[in-house]
């Protein structure tokens, strides 16, 4: 993304520091900011977090 690529061969360019890392596909990236999907995720994540908070509070009595 930020590296100076002018003097590198195609093989060198491909084998940058991140060649062996898992990378998101275009569809995954798209969904991350796709409003209808994210509205649904907003509700789902909130429910998950509220569940976690409730469970942690329940474990508080001696």
């Amino acid at each position: 993304m930020n590296t100076n690529t002018t003097s590198k061969t195609a093989v060198e360019q491909a084998h940058n520091s991140w060649f062996y890392a898992t990378k998101p596909t275009g569809a995954t990236l798209f969904l991350r900011t796709f409003l209808p999907w994210q509205l649904w995720r907003f509700i789902a994540i909130n429910l998950k977090m509220v569940g976690m908070i409730r469970m942690s509070h329940r474990s508080q009595r001696r």
Partner: protein, 484 residues
């Protein structure tokens, strides 16, 4: 009448004081001692540090809030505890030194029936030569630090707009740091802002960390069920860095920071230099240096506090190898084993041992994260201890409410870029915070309840939390309905 004194007005102390005031009758006194006049919602310092928020949006004065709620506020720093009393009186006392204008430096002793130590961390920049504001690197640990960091960042952005290339070094400034999550948030927000300013192609960004693997976060990483696999957080963090073009240096201990260059060594003994135009490196934490004295004036600091300055509570502090660490080593009531009326909450209590395995170089330099105590557990501990003290004042002989990190989960949202339409954040739930391999043999955690996802929804939740927690901290109507 009982007098409860809370030392510290951060997440844990402020929560404890607010609930004590809510649950205790007016005949009882609640006093808060804190050296800063303001409350700081620390998680949002990240956005101050990239120039998105002004400092005023993350701090507010404590005195009017406490006055309105009949909590006595003393703008002072605690220096010493006299838990057995002093000068022939058995009345427990805490010594404070005022910091407020007009009274700065004045010392006073406050009597207490119950005391909560919620003094958080000392930001131990001195551990690394040249580290920190006043040295050669920046920080976002306080709102003032974050404001200074933003000023430097925006200056560099202006120069990049004029065509200059700049190097950013972000991460942990010592091998024994905690708070890797905050360093992670800062680096991805910085990258996002460089893109927003249209200068990303002029920046080289390196993340330097004491973590063995990226995504360790001081909690030995988390395992998340996703896409047909149970995947460690290392993979997700590496993936985000690959996507954003952020280089990383793991297993690193910063030895010294000179102008424009950080000297580091790694677990395998290699030494290197990381050049930078701007470095934001978090410090390691220690206790704030409270002393403790017996009635005869004998120094008992070593009995009340651990060597790192954090206060000993009902944990198992026996030295054990990693294989023998147990969930039950972790404290449940945060009560001093020596004094039944003395408690420590949030970052101020001494953990029995780290959560991530301790690793050292051949020369014995520790390069592994100390255990984090993030906002939600800190507040929950503060609330549980307040509950216990209220019940003890009403006649209970021992604490009634527990809040073990090995029995509770945490929900956390890590910002990865702040914009209402294009921003993202990683939403994470972990259960339990401290792995329990007896209950969950494979990963130490319940994989059904441990979850992580990155997206715009997370950013909206982060915004919501910013406003909700600031509302709650102001103790505005209905504050106690907002969960910790």
């Amino acid at each position: 009448m009982a007098r409860v004194v809370v030392l510290g007005a951060g997440v844990s102390g402020h929560t404890a004081a607010a609930f004590l005031r809510k649950w205790l009758g007016w005949e009882h006194e609640v006093t808060v001692v804190s050296p800063q006049p303001d409350y700081n919602w620390i998680p949002s310092n990240i956005w101050v540090g990239v120039g998105l928020l002004r400092k005023e949006k993350v701090v507010f004065p404590l005195e009017p809030v406490y006055r309105k709620n009949e909590i006595d506020f003393k703008q002072a720093r605690a220096t010493a505890l006299y838990p057995d009393g002093i000068d022939g009186s058995p009345q427990p006392m805490v010594e404070i030194e005022w910091t407020a204008d007009g009274r700065a430096g004045v010392r006073e002793r406050l009597p207490y029936d119950y005391l909560i130590n919620a003094t958080g961390p000392k930001l131990n920049f001195q551990a690394t030569k040249g580290l920190g504001p006043g040295g050669n690197s920046l920080s976002v640990c306080t709102a003032d630090h974050a404001e200074e960091t933003a000023r430097v960042f925006l200056e560099l952005v202006a120069r990049m707009k004029r065509g200059e290339r700049k190097r950013f070094l972000i991460g942990t400034g010592h091998g024994s740091c905690t708070c890797e999550g905050a360093a992670f948030e800062y680096v991805v927000n910085l990258e996002f802002e460089l893109r927003s300013h249209g200068v990303r192609d002029k920046a080289d960004i390196t993340f330097i960390t004491n973590e063995y693997e990226l995504g360790d976060l001081g909690i030995d990483g988390v395992h998340i069920r996703r896409g047909g696999y149970v995947t460690p957080s290392k993979i997700f963090t590496e993936s985000l860095f690959a996507e954003r073009g952020i280089e990383s240096l793991t297993r690193a201990h910063v030895r010294a920071v000179e102008p424009g260059v950080a000297h580091y060594e790694t677990l395998d003994g290699l030494r290197g230099e990381a050049p930078f135009d701007m470095a934001m490196l978090l410090p390691p934490f220690s206790g704030v240096g409270l002393k403790a004295y017996a009635a005869d004036g004998k120094d008992i600091t070593d009995a009340v506090f651990a060597p790192n300055g954090f206060m000993k509570v009902d944990a198992d502090y026996r030295k054990k190898p990693y294989e023998d660490w147990k969930a039950s080593d972790w404290p449940r009531f945060y009560q001093s084993p020596l004094y039944r009326n003395l408690f420590a909450v949030g970052i101020a209590f001494a953990p029995p041992h780290p959560i991530s395995p301790v690793r050292t170089t051949a020369d014995g330099v520790v390069i592994s994260p100390a255990p984090p105590r993030t906002g939600m557990p800190s507040a929950m501990i503060g609330k549980a201890v307040a509950h216990s003290i209220v019940n003890m004042i009403k006649g209970g002989d021992r604490p009634s409410h527990s809040a073990s990190l090995a029995e509770m989960g945490a929900a956390c949202v890590a910002s990865a870029g702040a914009n209402p339409f294009t921003g993202t954040a990683a939403s994470i739930t972990v259960f339990p915070i401290v792995p329990d391999y007896e209950r969950y043999p494979e990963y130490g955690r319940d994989v059904d309840r441990t979850f992580g996802e990155i997206g715009l929804a997370g950013h909206w939740i982060k915004i919501l939390l910013h406003h909700m927690f600031l509302y709650k901290a102001h103790l505005w109507p209905g504050w106690s309905l907002i969960p910790e």
